[in-house]
């Protein structure tokens, strides 16, 4: 095909200038059907499982147990949402309470990590103090010690501190963050010396420089990091499983796994409604802040 269609030079120039020449095999106007099909299938691959749960949540639990789960929602079944929010299912906390714990945990972790990472990155980049490099490396090492590799000893430390079954225990230990510190360090190092010099000439002290210049300059990074960390906090499973056995501290993720644990007498439509409610907040955060999130993720981690 390529031999017969070698383009004349002016055609080449025309194509080079045309920003529309997205698909080279077809003229620009014709829709790129293959791309639509592949992407459409991809979209369905993610949307269908969620749709199934959404539709199932409005159906009769008994019917689902008998194997009559269907992809068609019944709009008379929305009362299940009010019911799980207020009362939960058998043996669990009300869903509003679990959402509250998850929300508090996600916000606490996201904000906490951002604040202490900005402060430590600021200290490491803009000051010279004894053991500065040691401090930086100690923080860096945490990257290599995820919760999963130190399950038992971390539990022991938590119980020495009396943090088992407390909201503090659920959030504070997860606030230490090498990734966020590294990211802010990268942003701060890139700030031109002239800007720092100018701020000093204007008589801005270190804290004023942090507040009036550094934080506004890194606003986009903060927004991106907030999305990543909110999702991280909301989605925790192993950590709350370890440190909080009190049902009053069940997060929504813990709660829903508890619900599916008893497969024989499960109230399936309630489980599905809970799954939808568990998905909604982090998905909303990602979609609303998509622009910052995508830029921040790909710049930050690479």
């Amino acid at each position: 095909m390529s031999g017969a269609l070698t383009p004349a030079p002016d055609q080449v120039r025309g194509r080079l200038l045309s920003r529309q020449a997205g698909d080279e095999a077809l003229p620009a106007q014709r829709p790129d059907w293959l791309a639509h099909i592949v992407l459409g299938v991809g979209v369905l691959l993610f949307a269908l499982p969620v749709w199934l749960v959404l539709a199932g949540s409005t159906q009769d639990s008994g019917a689902i147990t008998r194997g009559d789960l269907s992809l068609m929602p019944r709009f008379d079944g929305l009362a299940v949402y009010a019911h799980v929010l207020m009362y939960g299912t058998m043996g669990t906390e009300p869903v509003w309470h679990m959402l509250l714990v998850s929300g508090g945990m996600a916000l606490g972790i996201a904000c906490g990590k951002i604040v202490i990472s900005i402060l430590s990155a600021y200290a490491v980049v803009f000051f010279r103090f004894p053991l500065r490099r040691t401090a930086f490396w100690l923080i860096f090492i945490t990257l290599m010690l995820p919760v999963e590799v130190r399950i038992i000893p971390t539990y022991a430390v938590m119980s020495d501190f009396g943090l088992i079954n407390s909201f503090t225990g659920l959030t504070v230990p997860l606030i230490a963050s090498a990734t966020a510190t590294l990211l802010f360090r990268q942003v701060f190092v890139a700030i031109p010396d002239e800007l720092v010099e100018a701020a000093r000439m204007d008589g801005a002290g270190p804290l004023r420089f942090l507040r009036d210049i550094l934080i506004p300059v890194s606003a986009a990074n903060i927004a991106a990091l907030f999305v990543i960390l909110f999702v991280y906090g909301w989605n925790q499973y192993l950590w709350p499983l370890l440190v909080a056995t009190d049902p009053g501290l069940d997060t929504i993720v813990i709660g829903i796994v508890k619900m599916i644990g008893v497969e024989t007498q499960t109230d399936w439509s309630a489980v599905m409604a809970t799954a939808v409610l568990a998905l909604l907040p982090p998905v909303a955060v990602v979609i609303v802040m998509q622009r910052w999130f995508v830029a921040g993720l790909t710049e930050g981690e690479k």
Binding site: G3, T6, R15, R19, Q20, D23, D32, A35, V38, L39, G42, V43, F46, P49, L69, I116, L119, Y122, V124, F126, F127, R128, F129, P130, R132, A135, L138, T142, M144, L145, P146, E148, V149, R150, I151, I152, P153, V157, F161, P173, I175, A176, S177, T181, L182, V189, D193, R200, N235, L242, V253, I256, V257, I260, A275, L279, V286, T298, E301, K302
Partner: protein, 293 residues
């Protein structure tokens, strides 16, 4: 790289770095040190004391066929999850990079699953593949396929691989798309004028240029599959049936928290630690510029 212009004083920076440092020491370094210490001790059965046994826990571990089986299982699982989620993501990213109508909408619809928790992806897949209530699981059984991941270990493994890969596609998609968009337009145009298109252009130009992204993602996906899938696997199978989906992290949890075998669980933690350190070092060596303090 160092800054030339800095502020004076040491008290303020120490105060600023202290919160991060304290959390790091108390919740990361101390537990890690304890894990190393415990991995070299033996608890007596009544929990009254412990004796130093050197590397005995490690020799026991590696001569235990169950542990070796778990290592192999984890490697297979990690390879399958990384391969599956990365290839689907790459395919989607290549087409999402085309300039077609509605591509912003396609992107959003492919990015949102980033927000799904590993444990929640397990719940979603349960409604697809559960033999009693799942849409597909029931259909399979009605059509003569004996599908039940509560009994069949191979099917259970397949299910946790599917659920874990599915959740990770978005993350890989975001990075592959960013990688594709950073390929200079001049290079694309040059390949086009050489007549390379379709599969050939992908194989000879696009894929090689994506190598840094691909390499980064391989490391990230291996770490994800090894550690972050705890929620998915534990919610779906608890590591069963038997030990058929018991990856290393599930095994640490079962041996430590459920069976309270402190010495062995700590030794396993140390082995995992070595694994993460190796993977992270590879990653940072490769992307060296970020480590220069």
């Amino acid at each position: 790289m160092e800054r030339r212009t800095v502020f004076n004083g040491w008290f303020l920076p120490v105060v600023l770095v202290l919160p991060q440092l304290l959390l790091t020491v108390f919740f990361f370094l101390w537990p890690a040190a304890e894990a190393i210490w415990w991995s070299m001790t033996q608890q007596d059965p009544f929990g009254l004391g412990s004796t130093f046994v050197g590397l005995d826990n490690f020799t026991d571990l590696f001569s235990d066929p169950l542990y070796v089986a778990s290592i192999i299982r984890t490697l297979v699982f990690c390879a399958a999850v990384s391969l599956l989620s990365m290839s689907v993501a790459l395919l989607l990213a290549v087409f999402a990079d085309h300039e077609i109508r509605g591509r912003a909408i396609y992107r959003t619809l492919l990015i949102w699953p980033y927000a799904i928790a590993p444990a929640i992806s397990a719940v979603l897949w349960l409604f697809i593949l559960n033999p009693q209530v799942g849409l597909l699981g029931r259909w399979l059984n009605a059509h003569g396929v004996a599908w039940d991941y509560n009994i069949n270990g191979g099917q259970a493994m397949m299910m946790v691989i599917l659920a874990s890969s599915w959740k990770q596609v978005s993350y890989n998609f975001i990075f592959f798309l960013a990688g594709l968009q950073s390929i200079p337009r001049a290079v694309t145009e040059a390949a086009r004028m050489d007549g390379a298109r379709g599969w050939r252009r992908f194989r000879t130009m696009t894929f090689p240029l994506l190598a840094p992204t691909t390499f980064f993602l391989i490391v990230v996906n291996l770490v994800y599959a090894a550690f972050d899938t705890f929620g998915t696997i534990y919610a779906l199978t608890h590591g069963g049936p038997g030990k058929d989906t018991e990856t290393l992290v599930i095994k640490v949890y079962r041996d430590g928290v459920v069976n309270l075998d402190l010495g062995s669980s700590s030794a396993q933690s140390v082995v995992l630690m070595v694994g993460v350190i190796a993977l992270t070092s590879i990653q940072f060596r490769f992307m060296g510029r970020r480590t220069n303090a």
